[in-house]
Structure formats: structure tokens, C-alpha cells
Symmetry: C2
Subunit: 353 residues, 2 copies
């Protein structure tokens, strides 16, 4: 069994709201020929607030790939330790109870990886297994839960620690005036999250029990969501064609839910969706024939925190815990989308012992 | 069950031998105050030949992180496709028979990852699972086999494709005159490898059947083997303290072999060791009390190809197939070492049906 327990979210100390961000970009690109369109599109993102590692005035100055990556390491490790300790404490576990550490992140590069630094920083066993993954972008949160499910299927007596470290603000490229880039500059937020995934359900446990998992790659779509890797770091690129992917993945999500249980997607009780952006959410609602109310946690995560990449699904899952609306035995699904175009999907049952 | 079948190695077209490399570095650093020591240390590496993606005259010119990473993508995908097709053909499998693709690599950064490009380039199922890992360095080959073992323990009817893509020459930093860096410049080689790992043994199969796996992190050793990430790309750093790690991991390897079977390490029939360098091999031989003859494949891989990072263990495993010396039922072990300091170890049985 694979029980995803309540995630811990740790946000950095600075914020920027939409109006401030519009001012910042207008000052950076005072003569942008498409500014009217851009401002309208930024308002359309419905991202009202985002949390940032640094004050916005420092975010928009490129301090060099090396400097930024050093900040990533220092702050990433500090916040990962904080999130991990809180997640362990909430589950009454110690580092010694963890068998596999998965760290997903797409906003910095470290070798050794954060898995290794975490094992040293806290009192994890030297035999703790490491699974550090950088290249799955926004799909990585659900991807990690799916991999944890495979692992715990083999080793049901074990526990997995999942940590997501996402500092998209460290990828801000101040000379990039492309329309898509300026919209992205107002879309992504910073966050760190940790979550314990248990192989065995105990008395008193609450969480999302994985029933089944699936993965999907839409071929020849590497331009949809990608990085250009340059001396200035990772340059995020988004093609508007990405909107076409949801209509392709929706039938797969429907079939996946119908398999075994013959359930319909829109009859599920809850949905934990990666909110790539407003339009992705709109496409999901349309193509899966969902009720708006059922995706409010996903919409709220986008509104309040921006797209926090692999941490989004953990933020939305946490909102399900916070809402206290979920009843034992209710059925739900989780889905996230990322580069490739890759979708990672699972379905499960709410457990409230 | 986890059967590691015969790996395919694909080497790039250019070569450089030790004498040529000494000339190249002497020309780059004509007034290096420690040149005498450096030349002696290079000769001591016992690396006689290495394969390179580009002619050595181009390797030593830094063409920019972006340009190098583009070469990594173009050549990496091309060679990964070639190696994958050969590995599939040798096993009479098609891409449709593969359920999980693991790509390990520490010499470039792509998003989407090579797993995604491979799924598009060959006729893999859209539901093929991806496991792309960049941060485990030279430990990643054995690491991937250990993760495949966990996966196939859960899904024994499935098959895993492992691909290793290592182009260390793209990390050559021509202005770095540190002694350790100049030795490293003569140590690492380029290679791509692919290997099918099967969950079920069929009639006629031959290979290395995994009996058990283990992992080890020596805490607070992140300076032993590391990258500095800069605008010029990844800068490899090696601390001579790394030599101290083998005496720490050797007792763990001994206990691991003794567990269950009460066997002694030096009574095993074969050893597939990552040859980080000559001294690491010397330390292994000394601390595990091995016979030199039993580590000849590991020594030869280093001599003929240099340290090809995560691909080393696949190269050494291939040598066991090529030698035709292995008999059904013989016992062996595999170990690799990388940043962290991380060791990944497994033990197994030679199968010759």
C-alpha cells in the first residue's frame, strides 16, 4: 500500500503580487511594442501572489548562474531540512525510519545532490537510498509519488520521504523580452515541500492511498515545455501548442479511471491537479467535464502561490487535508504535466482511520 | 528476478592516448610550476587510451556551455538510439517490450530529458515510464541496476532499459590548471551504453542475476567528488581524501556479501568494479583482500577507455560476457562509487541457461 500523508509546505519570506509585477516588468521593458497585450495576458493568468526567495528587486538582476546556483544550494538545503523535520514530526517518525529519499527539483543543479546533503544534515541511515531527479519539471511531484508507489509495492514495510525544491525565481532572465517569457515571469513561484509516503497504513492514519498509477508521453512535443541551457543558466520556454496536449491526455485519464472500477472521471470526489496555468485548468475542466467547485483547490494554489512546479500537487493535496471535507473511502485522482510532454497520473482513495 | 543482460557499448570516433595528452597539457600550461609532478601523476593513472566525442584539439577549446550542451544533446541522443537498438535486437525485444527507461548521465543537462527524446525517437509506448538521473555521477550505473531491481521486484513481468550517456570531455576547462584537474583531464573518457534488465529469466538467457542490493552514503563528504556549477558549465572537483572512503565502505561490502550466504568477498568468482582511478582499485584490492587477476576487467576498462563514469560497470560487465569464462551459478558482485560519497553495491549469480 502507498499512503501519501499530509504534505508540509515551506514558503520563502518575500512576496510579489500581480500589480507589483506588472510595474516591475514595465520598468524593465519600458518601450516593449506589445506591452498592452502582455499586461492583459498577465492579468489573465489569475496569479495574484507569489512567494520569492529574494526581494523582487534582486530577483530581476541576474547575479550569474554560479551565484544563483549557490543560493539554490544554501536556501534549498535549509528549507528542505525544515520541511523534512516537520513532515517527520507530524508522522512521529525519525530520519532512521526513512528508506528512500526522493528529491525533485528543476531550478538548480547540484552534485552531490540534495538527497546526499540531507542524509548528512539529518540523522538518516548511511544505507538510505537516494533518488534525485531534475528533469521532470512540473510533472515531478506526481511522478515521484508514482515512483514511490512502485517502490513500496516491492517493499511495503518501508517509508519514502519526498522533497520538492522549486525556486523558479532563480531562473528569471532580465534580458528576455519574449511575450511568453514575460508571462512566465508572472506565473511561477518559489516553494519547498516535504511529504512522507508510507508503505503500510496504521491506526489513526489519514491520507491519499494510491490505487493505481499511469504515465503518458505525447511524442515529438519537446518544444512544448523546455529549457535552453546557457551560460546564464536555464531559460524556460513554453509553446502555446502545449494547450493541445490536454485534449490528448484527457481520454487517457478517463480510461485510466474507468479501468477496474468502471468509474467516470467526473464522478470522483476530489481532484489534485497540477495547475500549469489558468488555461491548462480550463482545458482539464472542459475535456473531463468537471464541476468548477471540484478544482477550486487547484485554482486557489495557482492564485495564491503561482505555479510552484513539482510542489503544486503537494500544495493542493495539503488543501484537501486543511479543508477537512474528505471522508473515508472517497475516490480521487492526481495529475501533473511537464516537459516531454509528459503526464503523470494516479488515482486513489481517501483514508481516515 | 532481475537479470542484467549483455550491455552494448558505443564509443565516439576520436581517440587520445596518454602521450598525446601529456603533450596537449604541456602546451596549454607551458610554464606550470608543478609540471614534473603532474606528468609523473598522469603516467601513474595507467589510462593509456580514451575515446572522445571531438578531436582533442577541439576538446581543449571551450566553445561555451550552451554550445557544448547542444553537442551533448545531439550526439547523446544519436548514440543512445544506436546503443538502445542494438541492445533490443540482441534480446529479440522491441521498444514496445520496455516498461521503464532509466537514463543516467552527469555530463549535460536537458529538459525534456533523454528518456523523453528516446520515447519519441523510437517506437516506445506512450505509457513508458521515465527515470532520468543526472546527479549520481560514477555511482549511477550500479545505482540504476539497483533501482531496476526494486522496480522489477514489484513488476517481475516487465523489462527495463538502462542507458548511460557520458561525455566527460565536454567538461574540459582549459583555464583550470589545478593539479587535480589536470590529472582528471587525463582520466575520464566518453561512452554511451545500453542494457536490457529483465524481470523474468527465459530459456537461453545469459547474464548477471541480482541476488541483493545495498546503498551507502559516507556523511559530510560532499567535497570528495563534486561539481562547481558555473557559467562555463560543470567543473569537476576531486579531493584526495576520497581515497579514505574505500576503507570505510569495504567492511560494508564484506558484511553485505556475508549476509544470508555467509560468503567472503574474496571467495566470489567475479567482480564488476567501477574503476574511479588506479588508486581506488588498489584500495579495493587491499581492503577486500582480492586477487589481482579477479579485477583485471576493471583495470582493463580503465586502461583502454579511461573512467567512463556511469558506463564503467556496464563496460566491465560486458567484458565478463566477452571472456566466456563465467559458468552458470558463479557468484559475483558489482560496486560503484560517486559523489556524496555514495556507494551502490549489489551481489548476484551468473546465469547461463
Amino acid at each position: 500500500m502507498t499512503l501519501v500523508t499530509e504534505p508540509v509546505l515551506v514558503f520563502p519570506e518575500y512576496q510579489v503580487n500581480q500589480e507589483e509585477m506588472i510595474d516591475v516588468l514595465e520598468n524593465l521593458f519600458p518601450y516593449h511594442p506589445k506591452w498592452g497585450t502582455i499586461e492583459k495576458m498577465i492579468r489573465n493568468t489569475q496569479v495574484e501572489n507569489r512567494n520569492l526567495l529574494l526581494p523582487i528587486k534582486d530577483v530581476i538582476v541576474h547575479s550569474g548562474f554560479e551565484y544563483r546556483n549557490n543560493i539554490y544550494k544554501e536556501k534549498g538545503l535549509k528549507m528542505a531540512i525544515e520541511a523534512t523535520q516537520k513532515a517527520l514530526d507530524a508522522n512521529r517518525l525519525t530520519p532512521k525510519d526513512i528508506d528512500l529519499i526522493i528529491v525533485v527539483s528543476c531550478t538548480g543543479f547540484l552534485m552531490p545532490s540534495l538527497t546526499s546533503y540531507l542524509i548528512s544534515a539529518l540523522d538518516f541511515r548511511p544505507s538510505t537510498k537516494q533518488l534525485p531527479v531534475l528533469q521532470l519539471g512540473c510533472a515531478a511531484g506526481t511522478w515521484a509519488i508514482n515512483r514511490a508507489h512502485e517502490y513500496l509495492t516491492a517493499y511495503p514495510e518501508q517509508n519514502v520521504l519526498l522533497v520538492s525544491v522549486e525556486f523558479s525565481s532563480l531562473l528569471f532572465q532580465p534580458t528576455d523580452g519574449k511575450i511568453a517569457s514575460l508571462i512566465s515571469d508572472c506565473l511561477f513561484g518559489d516553494a519547498v515541500s516535504a511529504c512522507i509516503i508510507k508503505g503500510t497504513v496504521a491506526q489513526g492514519d489519514q491520507g491519499y492511498l494510491i490505487d493505481d498509477i499511469t504515465s503518458f508521453v505525447k511524442k515529438d512535443t519537446d518544444h512544448y515545455i523546455k529549457y535552453d541551457v546557457k551560460s546564464t543558466g536555464f531559460h524556460f520556454g513554453l509553446d502555446k501548442e502545449v494547450m493541445n496536449s490536454i485534449k490528448d491526455v484527457a481520454p487517457i485519464m478517463k480510461d485510466f479511471v474507468a479501468k477496474d472500477a468502471e468509474e467516470k472521471v467526473n464522478e470522483l470526489d476530489f481532484f489534485i491537479f497540477h495547475t500549469g496555468g489558468r488555461k491548462i485548468m480550463d482545458e482539464l475542466v472542459k475535456n473531463l467535464d468537471l464541476i468548477e467547485e471540484n478544482v477550486q483547490h487547484s485554482r486557489n494554489s495557482l492564485k495564491n502561490n503561482g505555479n510552484i512546479a513539482s510542489a503544486v500537487v503537494l500544495d493542493v493535496l495539503k488543501a484537501e487535508f486543511d479543508s477537512k471535507n474528505r471522508q473515508n473511502g472517497e475516490k480521487g485522482m492526481m495529475a501533473a504535466f511537464g516537459p516531454g510532454f509528459t503526464a503523470e497520473v494516479n488515482k486513489g482513495t481517501w483514508i481516515k482511520n
